[in-house]
């Protein structure tokens, strides 16, 4: 982009040595757009050896704050070399401007923040992460206390936001979660089909699809989708409220932000996520069933008959039992990251991203822990 000069700035600004020794002449429009060229001219001035310098500025046709600043800076630089500098001939309005700049301008240059070194960065990051881990723990504790208070006095539970959150996080997520688990069922059946056919174990496609969906995949997929859909929304909502000081306003009104913003979300997700999981179980198995008929020649009737044997009640309940745990993780991480927002719009974006990454990470981690524990318990 090329800067267009303002009308009065068309005359080129310059600073040159004058006719007599110890004289400098300024001319033209000393304005922002001429600043780069002008600074080069200033730097190119031959070092004056005279004790007394006279600067003739009568040919200056225009001046703005940037031009005046450069003039003041030049004057100061010359004075610093031990010369007595006198400015003459400047138009009165420009002179007033130079006086204003002189009064406001400090001798030192702009204050720059020091860039931290490698070791400092690592240290700071590690400390931040530690604080963040403790913070999450403290947040879980606070949330539990708020929940205990609410249970002790059920009138404090806010039903309306709970129902609203069940609708947005649960009901409105039905199409996407259903579609994805249906496709997942199809993929598993399709991949398993060739292997099973080789052994003539066609009927075991039911075990493959139903068990993997019901026990592992459908709670996991549902939690991940909800983390992306709702956990991020929680972080962004609470974060924006933090930026606009709405959270502080809630505190002053005497409404605990945890009670109003976090508890309803946690409770709503704890109800919605198991329900969604039941639904995605059905959709996933349905996907496998649709695929099993053309690929392996298993009729719907046979499939459903085998289903009862393939999936034990304990497997089914384990799958659904994980859902409330995932729900707590997703809701708490989303809300916690929202509360971590500080000041800027960028911070809201960063915290939202972190909330999704962190909750998906924790969901998968906890799922792995579940597998280990159930293995010990031989479930």
């Amino acid at each position: 982009m090329t800067p267009t000069p303002t009308p009065q700035a068309t005359e080129r600004a310059d600073i040159t040595t004058g006719d007599s020794p110890g004289e400098l002449r300024c001319s033209g429009a000393w304005v922002l757009h001429a600043l780069t060229a002008l600074e080069r001219r200033v730097a190119a001035l031959p070092a004056a050896r005279e004790r007394e310098l006279r600067i003739d500025a009568s040919a200056v046709t225009a001046m703005d704050t940037s031009g005046a600043w450069l003039l003041v800076r030049t004057l100061r630089a010359l004075a610093a070399r031990g010369a007595a500098v006198r400015l003459a001939g400047l138009r009165p309005e420009f002179d007033a401007l130079v006086k204003l700049i002189e009064a406001r301008m400090r001798a030192e240059g702009p204050v720059r923040s020091r860039a931290p070194g490698m070791l400092e960065r690592v240290g700071r990051k590690a400390w931040e992460e530690t604080l963040s881990a403790f913070g999450l723990l403290a947040f879980v504790g606070e949330g539990t206390l708020a929940l205990a208070r609410a249970l002790a006095d059920p009138r404090r539970i806010r039903w309306r936001p709970i129902l609203y959150n069940i609708q947005t996080a649960g009901f409105e997520a039905l199409p996407i979660t259903g579609l994805l688990s249906f496709l997942m069922g199809i993929v598993i059946a399709y991949q398993g089909a060739t292997q099973l056919q080789r052994f003539g174990a066609n009927i075991y496609v039911v075990d493959l699809v139903a068990l993997s969906m019901v026990r592992e995949l459908s709670p996991l997929i549902t939690a991940i989708i909800v983390a992306g859909r709702s956990g991020s929304a929680y972080a962004a909502q609470i974060g924006t409220m933090k930026v606009t000081e709405e959270i502080d306003a809630l505190r002053t009104i005497g409404v605990g932000p945890l009670e109003l913003l976090v508890l309803p979300k946690v409770i709503a997700l704890m109800i919605a996520l198991p329900l969604l999981t039941v639904y995605t179980d059905v959709m996933g198995v349905l996907g496998g069933m649709v695929m099993a008929r053309p690929q392996l020649g298993i009729s719907f009737g046979t499939f459903v008959e085998r289903l009862g044997e393939a999936v034990s009640l304990s497997s089914y309940l384990i799958g659904i039992g994980k859902a409330p745990v995932f729900a707590v993780i997703v809701a708490l991480v989303g809300c916690y990251q929202g509360f971590q927002v500080t000041g800027s719009a960028e911070s809201v974006g960063r915290r939202t991203t972190v909330s999704v990454v962190q909750s998906i990470f924790l969901v998968i981690l906890v799922d792995a822990l579940f597998s280990i524990v159930f293995n010990w318990l031989k479930l």
């Binding site: 303002t6 704050t65 400090r106 240059g109 800027s344």
Partner: protein, 258 residues
């Protein structure tokens, strides 16, 4: 009167059924401090937004530096936008950037200055608005309300504009900071010959700085003139505006200073 920088003629604005401006017109001369006043919701800020090409009126003409801005596209407006600076009511500083980055960003976009020179010019602008030098590396969220206003002014001044729009420059400031802004506005006009158009509720600011004031109400200009002229007006709404208890106090103060 000298050359007009802003000329508004027969301006009409409606939001649905609500008429905001009905045949509004006035002009602002070069070097003038012009203030728009009026009750909340009378369309002052809308008028300001229409003048700086953020919003489009239903009909009428707004000429800035002699160019018609109604219906102007962003590309055409760019050249004009370089010649004016805008300070928004809530500052509208970019929260992800420090104060000095907020200023250098404008310079980077519109001038050929190198990084070192940009930083120095930004430091100058920050100093000009009366902020301490250590405010430069701070983020807007670390500043107080008054400092944020000053930082916003520093950004508006980044390109040394000929015309400055100020939306509620003193709203939300303590009296001392507000007085600082008064003086700053006057100083800038006197030293730089700026034209300033501002929207304000601050009667002190009006008495101290404004050369001419337009009172907006009922969708029209109720009165236009110096504060002295307006305070002698017979219009009931204008009298109410200037002779409420607060108006009287500000007026007495203004007299005492003379």
């Amino acid at each position: 009167m000298s050359e007009a920088v802003i000329e508004i003629e027969r301006l009409n604005t409606r939001f649905g059924d609500a008429v905001v401006h009905r045949d509004v017109g006035f002009s602002v001369a070069r070097g003038e401090i012009f203030a728009l006043v009026g009750a909340s919701g009378c369309g002052k800020s809308t008028l300001l937004r229409e003048t700086i090409v953020l919003q489009r009126p239903q009909s009428g003409s707004i000429r800035v530096f002699g160019q018609e801005v109604v219906g102007m596209d962003d590309e055409a407006a760019l050249a004009l936008r370089r010649r004016w600076g805008v300070m928004f009511e809530r500052g509208a500083l970019f929260s992800a950037l420090t104060v000095s980055e907020n200023v250098t960003m404008v310079l980077e976009e519109h001038t050929d200055l190198g990084p070192a020179l940009r930083a120095e010019v930004a430091a100058l602008k920050i100093a000009l608005t009366g902020l301490p030098p250590d405010a430069g590396p701070k983020y807007p969220s670390e500043l107080s309300g008054g400092m944020r206003k000053r930082a916003a002014l520093a950004r508006a001044m980044a390109l040394d504009p000929e015309l400055l729009f100020l939306d509620e420059p003193t709203a939300g400031l303590d009296p001392l900071s507000a007085t600082g802004i008064d003086e700053l506005v006057r100083n800038l006009r006197d030293a730089l010959g700026l034209t300033i158009m501002m929207v304000t509720h601050d009667l002190d600011l009006l008495w101290r700085t404004a050369d001419r004031v337009a009172v907006l109400g009922d969708g029209r200009i109720l009165g236009i003139g110096t504060m002295n002229e307006l305070s002698k007006s017979d219009d009931a709404l204008i009298r109410e505006y200037f002779y409420g208890p607060r108006g009287r106090a500000a007026r007495e103060q203004a007299w005492n200073r003379r």
